[in-house]
Symmetry: C2
């Protein structure tokens, strides 16, 4: 009767998981009406939204084959990485950096961009220069703060976005190689970025400078303006926070609605949330220099935001957009069909990559002084 016992156990489990199983079974069995009934029952309570397991294909239209391959890719192997020591973090960081650096020669070649190392105010930086800078951009300069959850993207691994912006936009870019955990938690990254900012505004008219960056770099872009305001420094003429990590905690609707749908970050509960805590290092996750959504956006320069419909940070982006608009700031929002987190900067050959950076470049051209 051993088999019988197991079977009974299986039945009990089935009963225990209740509506969720009914939903899964109904969906798998293909009975839409059963599913509709069970979902209606599961969604009868105020303030609680329940959705069944789902299987999606690639977006149907207006997505290039290059972007479709990116959108349809499996989860990255490290999405649930859980490094226990500084050494384990460094091994993971190093492994991912190599992947990023491997793409650089082809990108530089395609976009005709050169890269030089330098130090600004003691901070290691890269100067990224396109072969052709149009006349209106000759006196303009962009400051780049890279993404990577405050842990990834050290050194040259930070360069892809800077190269895309320099190449597609025709701008000279200073990319800040700020210090990061595990060795340097908050506020090292922000201190480095601000040291560079202070130096750059001494040597250039601030109205000709923009700050940009994606994900963590988007949050830092916003936090830099908050700090510049607080420290009475000159503000940039425009900013482009791409899908900013504006709430570093798991707060915001798309952390739930796009969980397991975004194939880049996948979930806050993997490496991402672990990096958040490693970076904050005990400082409140609601500190506006860490989660800029809690800052005061009044007086911000014109801002262009970018995200995708599957992005885990869709809410981070639209919450930022709305808060800027409520503060009376000029703020543009571009949301790309089907894209998960920051996929507009993965492949230099995807038309959507050129499109996203061209939108940002046009925005800078509109709002920066010549």
């Amino acid at each position: 009767m051993r088999k019988f016992d197991h079977a009974i156990l299986a039945m009990s489990m089935t009963l225990a998981i209740g509506a969720t199983l009914a939903t899964a079974a109904a969906q798998t069995a293909g009975s839409y009406d059963e599913l509709a009934k069970s979902e209606a029952a599961a969604n009868a309570e105020n303030g609680k939204r329940v959705a069944p397991a789902k299987t999606m294909g690639n977006p149907a239209d207006e997505v290039s084959p290059e972007m479709e391959a990116i959108i349809g890719a499996p989860y990255p192997p490290h999405f649930n990485a859980d490094p226990k020591t500084a050494a384990e973090w460094k091994e993971l960081i190093e492994r991912r950096a190599k992947l990023s650096i491997a793409n650089l020669p082809a990108m530089k070649e395609k976009l005709g961009v050169k890269v030089e190392e330098t130090k600004i105010a003691g901070v290691h930086c890269f100067i990224v220069t396109p072969a052709k800078i149009p006349p209106e951009n000759r006196r303009r300069i962009l400051v780049h703060v890279h993404g990577g959850g405050y842990v990834f993207g050290p050194g040259e691994a930070a360069l892809p976005e800077a190269i895309l912006m320099a190449g597609f936009g025709g701008f000279k870019v200073i990319s800040v190689d700020y210090r990061m955990p595990p060795d340097f938690p908050y506020p090292a990254a922000m201190d480095d970025a601000m040291a560079v900012w202070k130096d750059v505004v001494k040597r250039h008219d601030h109205r000709r400078i923009a700050i940009f960056g994606t994900s963590t770099g988007g949050a830092m872009t916003l936090a830099m303006v908050l700090r510049a305001k607080d420290e009475k420094l000159a503000l940039p003429g425009a900013i482009a926070p791409g899908t900013p990590w504006s709430d570093i905690d798991k707060l915001g609707d798309s952390y739930a609605s796009n969980e397991w749908i975004d194939n880049v970050l996948v979930t806050w509960d993997g490496w991402l949330g672990r990096a958040a805590k490693l970076y904050a290092n005990g400082t409140s996750l609601r500190n506006p220099y860490i989660s800029p959504i809690y800052g005061n956006f009044k007086g911000f320069p014109p801002t262009i935001l970018t995200t995708g419909t599957r992005d885990l940070f869709l809410s981070n982006t639209v919450r930022t957009h709305r808060k800027l608009r409520r503060a009376g700031v000029i703020a543009d929002l571009n949301v790309y069909e089907g894209q998960s987190h920051a996929q507009y900067q993965v492949n230099v050959n995807a038309p959507e990559t050129k499109e996203a950076f061209t939108e940002i470049a046009k925005f800078f051209d509109k709002y920066l002084e010549e």
Copy 2:
């Protein structure tokens, strides 16, 4: 042994539903690492995204209590309605119309708006006039095409959005009570809207006229501009398609990603898709006057689009936005945190309702001639 047989059957079913069940069980059991493993396995195939069943609360921040109540409400009872006859459709349409009409007196009162019936070019219309029209809006006029999946919103039931726009924006609005299925499928609705448009541009400078509408009304707004272009008529000075049903078929990523998460439309497979087929009545769902996403947006007037992160039509909206931008059109996009389909127009007292209509009014003020 009857019980045993059933238990074996339960086990077989369990095996049959495979990964989906594993996911549901893992999630219910609360083992995050188990879930992460099973999801990684389920997402190992290119072009296929699998997400487990999920339970979400209300959005955490920047959402008013009024909007939170709307976002957290159960599914509407009719989401899976399947009327089999014209009489059954009419009964459902009438029942829903009464709910809409019941709200009108309080809305009119609060916003100080009056409504008069009229006929324009033989089409039944309402003239919606706010008590105060600011000087810059005195010669401007808005044409409103209501939402409701081409079946809902007959007569006065169409008025809530027109009243909100007139009241919050300070504009005179003509709301078109176009003919609908089951009696009048495509192209009756579009023919009525175009008849009104032709008459209105005869009597007013087209640069002082905007067209707006939400959902079906958003699609009709876009389709009216397409038809005006094709028929060499004057174009409006600006348009505001709110979360437009720009692809009437189940094409677009958020039809899947926000299915069962949007608590207004819930799924295309309910009444919505049935209404699509009833309306098209055999005409291709890819006809640009039915699914305007397949039209040519070149030469379109400045356009402002509105949607929410949980909106089943998030992709309809952002696909439209991107296609407009690619055609070189001035196009603004506003996406509201946590909102399902068209929830920015449900409660006249929600701050987000005022915010959405004020954004649209400012956009019209910027682009319409005085």
